[in-house]
């Protein structure tokens, strides 16, 4: 029931009427199971990409105890209050949210280096996410590795999931495990809602090594996980350079990594983009003779 201006109850036609009055924010978790596969790199570039498209976006670091999203976003000096402070009621969301230095619609909620992961309570996280939903179009949750509390809280309220994997067996197996958790233990699974939408992202992909048989191919990975591939990010030294300068890799205009992340965001928004950077570049005669990249 809704109340009209005079305070009388008016009949709402359906629940949906009430829901569409608030912003229909989406919670997207970036998760993997295995550590060091590129979750934080992807969270930063994905959130930036959405913001560049005009969506008001916030990216939350769930890796309590190991701040690093703020480093990659280049805002570590501006962290005064963090996610845990907000949950503990020691700071308001507005005090803790950091506006990105270069991108208009982008905000960062950093993780605490000092608190332990038990600081993340289900009620606390839910409250923060619900408050953010009123203001933002997208809430991107950068999950820690593993399947412990932090990773669990990061995925619990997700509407969609970007499952990040590297082209090797152990990483793919861990992603399978995370997919199982998403489909059985997330809020949506527990409440019988429509299931969490799953997207696969293969990072650090090296077509030469795949061709040599040292790494799994996209088809091998698809055969194991059987979910649609949203993007393939090539292995590149540009990523290290980006993180050293405190800027998300997607901002390194003209690089393969940046293009791959921009394509990924476009596909996420429903655009049709062919996969790039998945095949070995055949070098032309001139390049072979004179080097080149």
């Amino acid at each position: 029931m809704l109340k009209n201006k005079t305070g009388n109850f008016v009949k709402s036609k359906s629940e949906k009427v009430g829901v569409s009055m608030t912003k229909s924010a989406k919670v997207v978790v970036v998760t993997s199971g295995k550590g060091g596969v590129g979750k934080t790199t992807t969270s930063a570039s994905f959130a930036t990409g959405l913001a560049l498209r005009g969506f008001k976006t916030v990216v939350i670091d769930f890796d309590i105890g190991l701040r690093n999203l703020d480093l990659i976003m280049g805002c570590e000096r501006r962290v005064v209050y963090d996610f845990v402070n907000v949950i503990a009621g020691e700071a308001t969301l507005y005090q803790a949210m950091i506006k990105d230095k270069s991108c208009e619609n982008l905000y960062i909620l950093a993780a605490s280096q000092t608190k332990d992961k038990d600081a993340l309570t289900e009620e606390g996280v839910e409250k923060v996410i619900n408050d953010l939903k009123k203001e933002f179009d997208y809430i991107v949750c950068d999950s820690p590795a593993g399947i412990e509390k932090g990773a669990f809280m990061a995925l619990y309220f997700a509407d969609e999931a970007l499952v990040v994997t590297n082209p090797e067996v152990s990483s793919v197996r861990d992603s399978d495990r995370i997919l199982g958790i998403l489909s059985s233990k997330s809020y949506r699974a527990k409440n019988g809602d429509e299931k969490v939408k799953e997207h696969l992202i293969v990072t650090r992909y090296n077509p030469e090594r795949v061709e040599n048989g040292d790494m799994l191919s996209i088809d091998d990975i698809k055969d194991i996980l059987r979910i649609p591939v949203l993007g393939v990010i090539p292995e590149s030294t540009d990523v290290l350079q980006a993180s050293n300068t405190g800027t998300p890799a997607v901002n390194l205009q003209g690089t393969n990594v940046s293009d791959a992340y921009l394509d990924l965001v476009a596909r996420f928004l429903g655009e049709d983009k062919p996969m790039r950077f998945t095949n070995v570049e055949k070098k032309g005669l001139m390049q072979r003779l004179f080097g080149g990249k």
Binding site: R173, D176, R177, L179, G180, S183, I224
Partner: protein, 216 residues
């Protein structure tokens, strides 16, 4: 007008349940009961775990609501050493003869239409039918038969309660562990070409050895 008394039989089904039961399984069971006996009406509840009245009250409410939807209702709670008093969550507690032959008459089939991922366990006392991939390290456990109409790379355990006649059918066989009536085989090495990713049937022979036979 005369008054006559006729003896009447009071038929009921005993629902044995643990304190934290799986709602989905419970609903499936009740539907199966209605399939089996559409006139079924009375349910006697038997608790398998020690739990306080206060703690169980919420579950009782859920049970009552779900049962009512199926035109079933709990007429009493079976007395057992875990319960003292004559009323439990608003239901009378009744002594039922111990020697009653209670058989699990209606194991229902469980149908799985999503991939069974690594770390997930699917369990059922009736058959299990899986229509999607069973991943490495996923487990499908049935007291009865298992059918996988897809590829299986995980663990399949049929006849988990000791039923030696249980069977396993797999469309694309690449399992890492198979077991029937506790006779098991860990499959560590690559399967021979005639079985790998082939449609197979798995059963126990009369010497209680596991047999994997290609269906092609």
């Amino acid at each position: 007008m005369s008054i006559k008394l006729h003896p009447a039989r009071f038929g009921y089904y005993i629902l044995k349940i643990s304190a934290h039961f799986d709602m989905e399984e419970f609903e499936a069971k009740m539907l199966a009961l209605k399939d089996f006996d559409e006139d079924a009406k009375y349910i006697a509840l038997e608790l398998l775990e020690l739990i306080s009245e206060r703690e169980f009250q919420q579950q009782m409410t859920i049970l009552d609501e779900t049962l009512a939807k199926n035109k079933l209702f709990i007429c009493f709670v079976v007395s057992n050493p875990l319960i003292n008093g004559t009323v439990f969550c608003g239901k009378p507690v009744v002594n039922v003869e111990n020697n009653m032959d209670v058989k699990n008459v209606i194991p229902s089939t469980k149908m799985i239409n999503y991939p069974v991922r690594s770390g997930i366990i699917i369990r059922n006392d009736g058959d299990i039918i899986v229509n999607e991939l069973v991943s490495h390290n996923a487990e499908v456990i049935s007291d009865s038969n298992i059918h996988v109409y897809n590829e299986c790379r995980g663990k399949l355990i049929a006849g988990a309660n000791g039923d030696k006649n249980a069977m396993i059918y797999v469309q694309r066989f690449n399992a890492e562990y198979i077991s029937i009536a506790n006779v098991f085989q860990v499959i560590e090495d690559k399967l021979p070409e005639r079985l790998l990713n082939k449609a197979v049937k798995i059963f126990l022979d009369d010497k209680e050895r596991l047999n994997v036979v290609s269906l092609n």
